[in-house]
């Protein structure tokens, strides 16, 4: 119980800290710090998505970059059609975030369902390799299909709009991202506490026993995987707006690795794990990226240290090993 209280305290610090730092930056006129916090929020949201599949469902996906990138492409493609006026599949484009988000979730979720339906025919190590391979297929397609920029990617010259806010201002975009992150975390917590979540975790622990009490592992896992892909896709749409750019590198395998790293650094299956993980990763990148061109070597060593000696991630270190799942 004590551990649980401590985790609640850490969660509160993370949620409010992520709000307080940009507020300070706004006051001190440090716009880049706000941008950095927005990046943390967006990556954390992508991690929250992956955490549903990986943390709750035990599905180790090495292909979530595909959903992240697809979300980004939805934002880029809809914005491009909105500015050119040309219809896409008979429908007009849009530069409204409130239109783009559901479409991004729908597209990423649908593709996740398709990939999931194929990958979930297998388990374990097969699953890792298959999700990686399918993500790579989407990547190669994006690189070689010229209609939306191919390898060059797709610029978003003016960020997509949100009613009542000026998304070109760093603070406004941060508020949007932070709000979505909190909503995503809320959804995650709801799922974890729901019957659906209980079924998902039961399947992770023992698929045969779950099946024997009448839970269909395939259906539950597929639904979780699709939802997981949809939330990561939503984060991708936000990332495209943050970078004002979508490119195939959002779809490439290092991105998938980064999302896994975010979850593990924070603590697998923890509600606020991805927030802690994203903050550590971005902080590491900004601090060491400026100091040495070999920062990836140090990142590798840190990750190795975490796997060998700090398995629960940051939240595991602070709030104790046992998982609240």
């Amino acid at each position: 119980m004590r551990n649980e209280h401590r985790e609640y305290a850490v969660n509160a610090v993370l949620a409010l800290g992520l709000l307080a730092v940009p507020l300070w930056a706004l006051w001190a006129n440090e716009p880049f710090t706000i941008t950095l916090c927005t990046r943390i929020a967006v990556l954390a949201l992508a991690g929250v998505g992956l955490n549903i599949a990986l943390g709750l469902g035990g599905m180790v996906s090495f292909g979530h970059a595909a959903f992240f990138g697809l979300g980004g492409y939805v934002a880029g493609i809809l914005a491009q059609h909105a500015s050119s006026g040309a219809p896409i599949l008979g429908l007009p484009g849009s530069n409204q975030m409130l239109v783009i988000w559901p479409v991004a979730m729908l597209v990423a979720g649908t593709v996740a369902a398709a990939i999931g339906a194929l990958s979930l025919r297998t388990t374990g190590i097969f699953f890792i390799m298959i999700t990686l391979a399918f993500a790579q297929m989407v990547y190669y397609f994006a690189v070689s299909w010229p209609a939306y920029g191919g390898e060059d990617g797709l610029p978003i010259y003016v960020r997509n709009r949100f009613p009542g806010l000026n998304t070109m201002r760093p603070w406004d975009l941060f508020v949007v991202s932070w709000g979505l992150l909190m909503a995503g975390i809320g959804v995650f917590a709801l799922i974890r506490g729901s019957r659906f979540g209980a079924a998902l975790m039961a399947i992770r622990q023992n698929p045969d026993r779950a099946a024997s009490v009448g839970i269909s592992p395939f259906g539950v896992q597929l639904a979780a995987f699709a939802l997981s892909g949809a939330i990561t896709g939503l984060a991708g749409a936000l990332m495209a707006d943050l970078s004002r750019f979508t490119s195939p590198s959002m779809l490439a395998w290092p991105m998938s690795g980064e999302l896994i790293v975010i979850i593990i650094l924070g603590g697998v299956g923890r509600v606020f794990g991805p927030v802690a993980g994203a903050a550590i990763l971005v902080g590491f990148e900004v601090t060491f990226g400026g100091m040495t061109e070999h920062w990836k070597l140090w990142l590798g060593l840190v990750l190795l240290g975490v796997v060998l000696f700090a398995r629960g991630g940051l939240l595991g270190l602070i709030a104790g090993r046992e998982r609240l799942g």
Binding site: E30, F32, E151, G153, S243, S247, S249, T292, E293
Partner: protein, 381 residues
């Protein structure tokens, strides 16, 4: 190793210690690829830029270097930080067109100068040109156009052309075809990053072509040229400096001998600035500079010349100083067109073995005083 270096050379500061240069140093952010594949090119860009600062000395420039990992999002984030947190007034360094397309509009929108030492995508040379954007290298199509012109003038009228399937690849083949008058014997787009070209070489063998044009930068070119040399196909190979430049030649070895390629610069180009550059670069880094290094060297000298002539905070005056291009380019004659891209000569070079070093030798002029075809679409005067 620390790469965020402040360039201070006390002695030379005395020389330049007059006028605008006496003010606070201008912060220049150099974003380039220093990790993963392509790190060799980024190293050349950084070293070339650094060398120019070292040779000219002065504390007029404070240089900040960072690795973009060849990822557009990362490059945009670094650019934002350099501008917003470190107050960089000039950015430069990006190698790849896709990163340039992500970063340059974001930089110029914040009214910060961007001077490209390499990538020159057509979208930013034509209607998308911008007063805050200069290109000190070329527009992307330029060298390929020169190769096309050369092929036509040398009786090649059945050329097989090959490039990776990505926008710079399609641009390269389009550029080649623009000034090529012969017939295309075959056209193949390969996968980006492909390393095995046996299937393509087999098609070249079967095509009945009289020559082959390739655009395969970096490792792709090394793989192709070596496999081509072993294939028994001995049609003349034409290319550009991106494929058979000094960054790749050591990896190709003798397989590259005889490849004719277009470039606006060559290590043996005969002018005073170039002699000094090549000698100093070899001395400082122990290797022959590549085309990329020469472009970064010119970019740094262009910036130095403008910083000495005008205050960077007076955007109009500084732009005029950049446009004047009042520096000794290692490629010889150099001036900017209305779209702030170079108007310059493009030469043909040939890969030779010079006393044991595989390098390029000047073959002759391909196109003289050439301006890119997109300049007319640029509204700037």
């Amino acid at each position: 190793m620390t790469i965020r270096t402040t360039m201070t050379a006390g002695l030379a500061a005395l020389v330049l210690g007059t006028g605008a240069a006496a003010a606070d140093p201008v912060t220049v952010g150099l974003i380039t690829t220093l990790s993963g594949g392509g790190a060799g090119i980024g190293t050349d860009i950084r070293d070339g830029f650094q060398l120019a600062l070292d040779m000219n000395g002065g504390d007029s420039i404070h240089l900040v270097v960072e690795d973009d990992g060849r990822r557009p999002e990362q490059a945009v984030q670094i650019a934002d930080r350099m501008i917003q947190a470190e107050h960089a007034q000039i950015l430069t360094g990006i190698i790849w067109s896709n990163l340039a397309m992500a970063v340059i509009p974001a930089v110029t929108a914040q009214e910060v100068f961007y001077i490209s030492p390499n990538a020159g995508p057509s979208a930013l040379a034509g209607a998308g040109c911008n007063p805050y954007y200069f290109n000190a290298a070329w527009q992307n199509d330029m060298l390929h156009e020169a190769a096309g012109a050369y092929a036509s003038e040398h009786g090649m009228n059945h050329t097989f052309i090959l490039a990776p399937n990505y926008p710079a690849g399609t641009d390269a083949l389009t550029g080649f075809k623009r000034r090529y008058t012969g017939e295309i014997a075959g056209e193949i787009y390969t996968q980006l990053g492909q390393t095995d070209y046996a299937a393509e070489i087999a098609q070249i063998r079967a095509s009945g072509a009289d020559s082959v044009f390739i655009f395969l930068p970096g490792g792709m070119g090394i793989s192709f040229v070596r496999q081509y040399a072993q294939s028994g196909v001995d049609l003349p190979l034409i290319s550009t400096a991106f494929t058979v430049g000094q960054d790749s030649l050591p990896g190709m070895g003798e397989a590259a001998l005889g490849v004719v390629n277009a470039g606006q610069w060559s290590p043996d180009l005969d002018n005073e600035a170039n002699h000094a550059f090549v000698t100093a670069f070899r001395e400082a880094y122990g290797r022959t500079p590549s085309l990329y290094a020469s472009q970064a060297f010119d970019t740094a000298n262009l910036i130095l010349s403008a910083v000495a002539a005008a205050d960077v905070n007076d955007h109009e005056a500084f732009r005029a100083a950049l446009r004047a291009a009042d520096f000794a380019s290692v490629r010889g004659a150099f001036r900017f067109g209305n779209n702030q891209h170079p108007i310059q000569n493009v030469y043909m070079r040939e890969v030779v073995n010079a006393d044991g070093e595989i390098t390029n030798r000047l073959l002759g002029l391909a196109i003289a005083d050439y301006q890119d075809v997109f300049a007319s679409e640029c509204p700037m005067q």
